[in-house]
Symmetry: C2
Subunit: 423 residues, 2 copies
């Protein structure tokens, strides 16, 4: 290739970290290749709304090639990263290996079951678009089945939805699900007795949303209860079984749906670095986000555990800031300057509780209710638009054109989506 004399930076993962890393490298004198197993970026903060049938999957999925093809120095390859040949500096994939001069790893995280039996087999998850679609399909199908089920015990089980984990994902999903049931589904299923429908949120600790100020945590629990969610605190789960959840105190919840939002860990690709992993399977990196002994490899986002910084939350703002920072450090190194340590600017925390309510912890201030919800709305609209703006509108496209782009070229996850090998 003509450009092969330029340094080649391979970025793994088209999540927030990877996308903002390649954006930072646009128009710089480097050759950039973004690698992801999917052909679209997923806007994770709104994934729970897909599962709660609030928005269609296309609204939060952006075809990567559409985001990138005005940047002449950025390429994309749809491939699954499977390992790293550290000596040869090659990323191993399900296709041909990909050589790199610099590697920025941003593969994100996966669900962490903490070894609780039955979770992997019987629970639903909310960590990817296909999982969200699967959960939505299952919820809607449960109502359809319940509508024709004469056995009241079976019917109640089908209509009991158990969410395990009272962090932001569990709380936001519980609120959205309660509202889906209270309005659209109640209207759709006039023959069902909605007294039989239950949404249960189970949390092992003494309160929801660990890490937030106590008044916000109390408000969140009270608000969810007002929406009809049964909030069970100090209720660690012993096991998830077929059709029920068993709590450590012996309680059995008969439930056709168990959603596991109780934990995440770093993507398994972290093991490819051949070094001992930190807590939650995350990769220890230097304050400059480099892998010790391999300064050509950077790790950002959920997978990264920077020394001396403490445990940063696995959220979009951290990934975005680290993606930008790692890319800038690569450019600095190429210019013969030393890489800079990463500093996190915490933009605060926002968690919705159904429509018109949220909790916000921003700039050291805590507030709740409608003002917090308005803030949440504004921030997320801004982030969604910002993503397109800075990546694409910046490169000269009109909004409606983009919209056309957005909706038409997705490889939506279907497990049998490509059922025949070509070879």
């Amino acid at each position: 290739m003509a450009q092969r004399d330029r340094p080649r930076i391979v970025v793994v993962g088209a999540g927030f970290g990877g996308l903002w890393a390649v954006r930072t490298l646009a128009f710089e004198p480097v050759e950039v290749l973004l690698v992801d197993r999917r052909n679209h970026h997923t806007f994770f903060p709104l994934l729970y709304q897909v599962a709660a049938a609030e928005i269609e999957p296309e609204a939060i999925a952006f075809p990567i090639r559409g985001l990138l093809h005005r940047f002449p120095n950025i390429g994309f390859e749809m491939a699954e990263a499977r390992g790293i040949d550290l000596e040869a500096r090659r990323l191993e994939t399900d296709g041909p290996p990909i050589p790199y001069d610099f590697l920025i790893l941003s593969p994100g995280s996966v669900a962490h079951t903490f070894g609780v039996p039955g979770v992997a087999e019987h629970a639903f998850f909310l960590k990817s678009l296909d999982q969200a679609i699967r959960l939505r399909n299952h919820i809607l199908t449960s109502f359809e089945r319940a509508a024709r089920e004469p056995d009241p015990l079976q019917r109640r089980r089908m209509l009991t939805f158990t969410i395990i984990g009272g962090g932001p994902t569990g709380v936001e999903f519980a609120g959205a699900l309660a509202e889906l049931i209270a309005r659209p589904l109640r209207r759709d299923f006039p023959t069902l007795d909605f007294q039989e429908v239950r949404v249960i949120l189970v949390e092992a600790m003494e309160g929801l949303l660990p890490g937030l100020p106590t008044p916000l945590r109390s408000y969140a629990a009270a608000r969810l209860r007002r929406l009809g969610v049964e909030v069970r605190l100090q209720a660690p789960v012993e096991a998830v079984e077929l059709g029920r959840v068993r709590l450590k105190d012996g309680t059995l919840i008969e439930t056709g749906t168990a959603v596991w939002t109780a934990g995440v860990k770093g993507d398994p690709l972290g093991a490819a670095l051949g070094r001992p992993l930190g807590p939650s399977g995350r990769v220890w990196v230097s304050p400059t986000l480099q892998v010790p002994g391999h300064p050509e490899i950077y790790v950002v986002g959920d997978l990264a555990l920077p020394e001396e910084l403490g445990k940063l939350p696995m959220v979009a703002p951290v990934a975005i800031q680290q993606g930008i920072h790692a890319a800038r450090n690569v450019l600095r190194v190429l210019q013969g300057r030393p890489p800079q340590p990463f500093r996190y600017r915490d933009p605060g925390t926002l968690v919705t509780l159904g429509r018109n309510a949220a909790v916000a912890h921003v700039f050291g201030r805590a507030f709740t209710g409608f003002p917090a919800w308005l803030l949440w709305l504004g921030v997320h609209l801004l982030r969604l638009i910002g993503l397109r703006n800075r990546l694409v509108v910046l490169s000269g496209w009109a909004w409606d054109y983009l919209f056309y782009e957005r909706v038409v070229r997705l490889i939506l996850p279907m497990n049998d989506g490509d059922r025949r090998p070509i070879r």
Copy 2:
């Protein structure tokens, strides 16, 4: 049930025939139950555009309960019809059996392979939304794989798309696919050599679009060729194999994608009537659309083969007119009046050939090009809107409210969408 003293009409299939049948029965003194294995109606005439990544699946899928819940006498059950107990007058399903006084069957049609070897195993189809999504995923994945494939023979095979069958579906899909490739994909894959991309349309007969006037058929072939489609006429297929299509004349087409649009036959449910089937597995019915010997059972749409009427095409207008007609006949019988024979009012034929071109055969007149395309656009917009209008706006909803309805409550087809049995 309080309403059980009213006659119960069970309608199988929420396609055009079934939906227009239940609409005709709205607010009448009958109890109506619509049964479909899916929770949404699919607007089939635009299915090929989903496969060609022109529109998102949600644009042509309408949640059935959302369409019906303002009609107090119409219920819905998501169930798969598996048989009919003619004596007991019960529809057998994958759930509890459903008793009926009158039965309107509108299950539609399925692909017909005519026994050509390998079609069922290796070809893609365009008869349902999940098939269209699967085909779209496969096409986009083929380009992603080709972009990283060093072997030119493999790459050419991945980039060769073969459509078997020169009827309206094959012709419209070929045009849409050629345009997808010519513009969006060419921009998305700057490293690919688009000389290697081929779209081949294979037809056994001497021309495309059998049944239309010759000038329209010639125009269609010429137009597709201008779009870059290789049109091969008088080329019957001997077999579809893994990675290739074998023609009867011995030609081998190395192709990663074979799409079978060469034939349809009546839904297998027709066999449940226990009578010999007519051509293409369709059910012989009387001119009044009733099953001989079972005047309480009506068959409409693709599955119906009315005596004395000749073979009507398996298209939406026939299904809509028959659905309305069967429902009116049921009401007439309930009022003690004789059922009327069905008469088809042919609205004509419209087939698009990419953007800005189509062929039209309407009111005995044949025309082509941009005027025909405008007519196609108008008719389809009208039909789409008409469906909502007459079913839903008619019942008082605002358009934007509807739109919200439309996009949020679909059980999108995913084969593992509901992976766990509840029992």
